[in-house]
Symmetry: C3
Subunit: 266 residues, 3 copies
Amino acid sequence: MSVISLLTDFGTDDAYGGIMKGVILTIAPKAQLIDITHQISPQNLIQAAYQIHSAYRYFPKGTVHVIVVDPGVGSQRSILAVAADEHFFLAPDNGVLTLIIEKSPICRVVKVENELFFLTPVSNTFHGRDIFAPVAARISLGTDIAKLGSNFSPAEVVRLSLPKPIPIGKGKFAGTIIDIDRFGNLITNIDEVMIRSLLSQSSGNIVVHIKGHIIAGLSGSYADASPGTPLAILGSRGYLEISVNRGNAKRHFDAIFGDFVEIITT
Amino acid sequence: MSVISLLTDFGTDDAYGGIMKGVILTIAPKAQLIDITHQISPQNLIQAAYQIHSAYRYFPKGTVHVIVVDPGVGSQRSILAVAADEHFFLAPDNGVLTLIIEKSPICRVVKVENELFFLTPVSNTFHGRDIFAPVAARISLGTDIAKLGSNFSPAEVVRLSLPKPIPIGKGKFAGTIIDIDRFGNLITNIDEVMIRSLLSQSSGNIVVHIKGHIIAGLSGSYADASPGTPLAILGSRGYLEISVNRGNAKRHFDAIFGDFVEIITT
Amino acid sequence: MSVISLLTDFGTDDAYGGIMKGVILTIAPKAQLIDITHQISPQNLIQAAYQIHSAYRYFPKGTVHVIVVDPGVGSQRSILAVAADEHFFLAPDNGVLTLIIEKSPICRVVKVENELFFLTPVSNTFHGRDIFAPVAARISLGTDIAKLGSNFSPAEVVRLSLPKPIPIGKGKFAGTIIDIDRFGNLITNIDEVMIRSLLSQSSGNIVVHIKGHIIAGLSGSYADASPGTPLAILGSRGYLEISVNRGNAKRHFDAIFGDFVEIITT
């Protein structure tokens, strides 16, 4: 019994996600189907790229992760099956796999072309149902991805230009907010490695500048700050997050996706 | 291990859907439970009727589809178990099964009356928990629907008066928008058969009129139109859809459920 | 194969719930994972306490109910594993278990401390992933909760001060609205036992006062009132509810969480 995870921008008002699961269970009746989320903003490839990269490692080895954020459905864009870090990924070749490809030392990529594994006829508007679901089911049953089509060079996979933190002076980095969660926590693109490197260069103290405000020091937990007070913390995804203890940092700072954050050693 | 799908207007903020699943698993521990959607607009029977008809065929044969959109709960309305097209359907007799009954050549209908299969006591406000869930679990375990109650004539099942496309002249049909999905795609009630018939009568060209705008021709995929441009396409549900490539047709046309669409051969 | 239910305030836009499921399936591949809801208002302990108490009894005996509404994550608050009424509960010690503890005659409580069962490292912001998920998986596989840590006195579990109905004269109770569901039904804290006691003291008639309006009598079902008309009913959770047949009582009365309701014998 293997696990198939779904990450889409379908929402849950429509039947699209449920229909994909129906197709999968027709082929692989014992699959364990897990929704990572269906609430990626419509066609937001950057958000999908970060979400799958943060989430996949917490699933069992061998999980088939199906990512359907696919504004190019029905066009000439390819569909890729990727084996990396002992997980499988099935996604359109539009950049949603950027972080998987960049951060996995070894990965094998196949262009999905073998129509024997597709539903017939294949619609031009819902490859989630007609290609992704039946192919994911087959992979979960043990079909070697080599049988899905021809080898594809990892170097040729479409990459998104993800916002990277920029050094803006000695002991200073400028990052951006790449996600905001339900609690209003602001997730930045400044990762654990970068924070540790800053800390090691300095007396061990840092400050964070966000929208004209200053947060002194890294907190170990939300409760290190008084209720209603902002704090900076190494979040559960491995990135610097700005939070408000028992509050909402998005509202506190009137922050949006893409806002700048500076982290400075002192 | 059989599949039970759920289609309700419960939303996901409350525990109602989860409680139904708890009841099902108490009786049928190995059931595969799949949400089609819980986001039917409260008490919108038309939307539910179209959704279950578009979705069910993608599930394995033998799936038990439970439809709880039930404004008459606790009144004298009946609950029906239907076997059609090698699937089972369990729903209130309020019209949500209209398309299943009309489009399946052979179906068997039973009025669900046998209280041995219900939870006790049966509340008057949550038959989803007290009747639908335990009965669905029993059907999934192989109980013949004949044991659930007395035979019921398919001809007597409540039918909704669904909006039908109207011929408005030679080579012209007027349809309506019957659903709008998360991407803003406008799903009409003009189906594949009707479109093919129009195309065969003409030089093969059609135009679509919607809210004072004209869309020329049927597209094969979203990418056939430039980004931001409207297009007409045979959608994945088998109906004519109006979309905007990488955009949102609902916003583009300020369209709502029930708006008219004309399709005209040229 | 045992059942694990999830009740959180994570919402479904983020990957948090999906990640917890990935962790659980890594340890307990055959677990049946059921969402009660992820839509508890952020950090609303009272809502969570009522929801889990209304829902748990409809799940199979032995179900592990995981409640992650946890504003104190990373602070010194404890995590408790509770065996009560043949179900298991895993939750922060912040009051979400108040009704489980108060209403179960016998329950066993253990403070979860044994780090052997945790992911490593344990983050300070996502114990759902690092502690709750792996521990729930172990309980579902049969690990005795005694192995999770030291015994904890049920009397010392944190209790919420839940709003209790107040007698305000002979045959009169004042209650409050403790939840409002998707249909706009107003769920009060006046329970079945209290209603029966009022009915037995009187001629059997009651009236309900809400926001300056009077509803005469208890209805047996929604359909007892004409469409658009308010009614009082013993709801499926075992509490007095105020509804509008085929309408929305929340909008009808402009009601909010915490509003007062009086129930009076006549």
